[in-house]
């Protein structure tokens, strides 16, 4: 069994719900990310995406410089636990039709993200070959 924490990306970029949408857009551009978790008091409270910025801010005629992320974000954020097994996490991605999950620990602190791209050999060179074989076997078994 391979755990999410072994293959996830540990760096978590996030914004605060009080951040203005223009600032969030800058951070997403600089991070090359199409979505960003929203954190308040060390808890995950939402997710903001390109679509939220275009469709819930610009389309509604709101000013991105004064509109807060908390007012346009999506509240339903797909998550998984860091000690969950990889197959189950991939199952969540499929069920929710999302390519990326926010990884939390059991105190609900964000500890990373899990994207399909994390499942590449480049992403986590520290993982031994044997563990990779297990991870892909798990993925393959699940995808059948």
């Amino acid at each position: 069994m391979v755990f999410v924490k072994e293959v996830m990306t540990r760096r978590v970029d996030y914004v605060d719900p009080g951040t203005c949408v223009a600032e969030a857009a800058k951070r997403m551009r600089n991070a090359g990310a199409d979505c960003m978790p929203v954190r308040y008091a060390d808890r995950l409270v939402g997710m903001v995406t390109d679509a939220d910025i275009a469709c819930r801010t610009v389309a509604d005629g709101r000013d991105p410089a004064t509109t807060r992320v908390g007012d346009v974000m999506s509240h339903d954020v797909p998550i998984c636990f860091d000690d969950q097994d990889l197959g189950a996490a991939i199952g969540i991605m499929e069920a929710k039709h999302m390519r990326r999950l926010v990884v939390v620990d059991h105190e609900e602190h964000m500890v990373g993200t899990l994207a399909l791209g994390d499942l590449s050999l480049n992403a986590v060179p520290a993982l031994s070959q044997q563990r990779w074989i297990e991870a892909f076997d798990e993925y393959y078994q699940w995808s059948k």
Binding site: V21, A25, A54, V58, G61, L116, L119
Partner: protein, 136 residues
Amino acid sequence: MLVKDVMTRQPEWIAPETTLLNAAKTMHDKDIGSLLVGENDRIIGMVTDRDIACRGVAQDLSPAKTPVRKVMSEKIIWCFDDQAIEDAAHLMEGKKVRRLAVMNREKRMVGFLSVDDLAHQTHQLSGEVLDEVTAH
């Protein structure tokens, strides 16, 4: 599975002078993330929700005053509707884009394909991951 089986059909056209505000409204109303930009019955570009976010909002451009011409991509990355979705996924990875325009063999734009359209396909997901692995 082929691109035409999972793509979003009937791409919407807008004029290059359309404001970001109105382009975003069209995306919102039609529940889509990309639009074709046309002038004199010719496609001159493509604009996505990401272009509006990263090239518009992130640059502090006014959505009510900025035309999509300023933020659109002039170079359209496209695929054929009868190509396999694995090929389209490869193209997205190679070009680092999240959306492709889709053309039929008569060279007409017939739709858009997004990463999310692909993420709905279980087998495509496994294809994508396995592709990445074999690439390294």
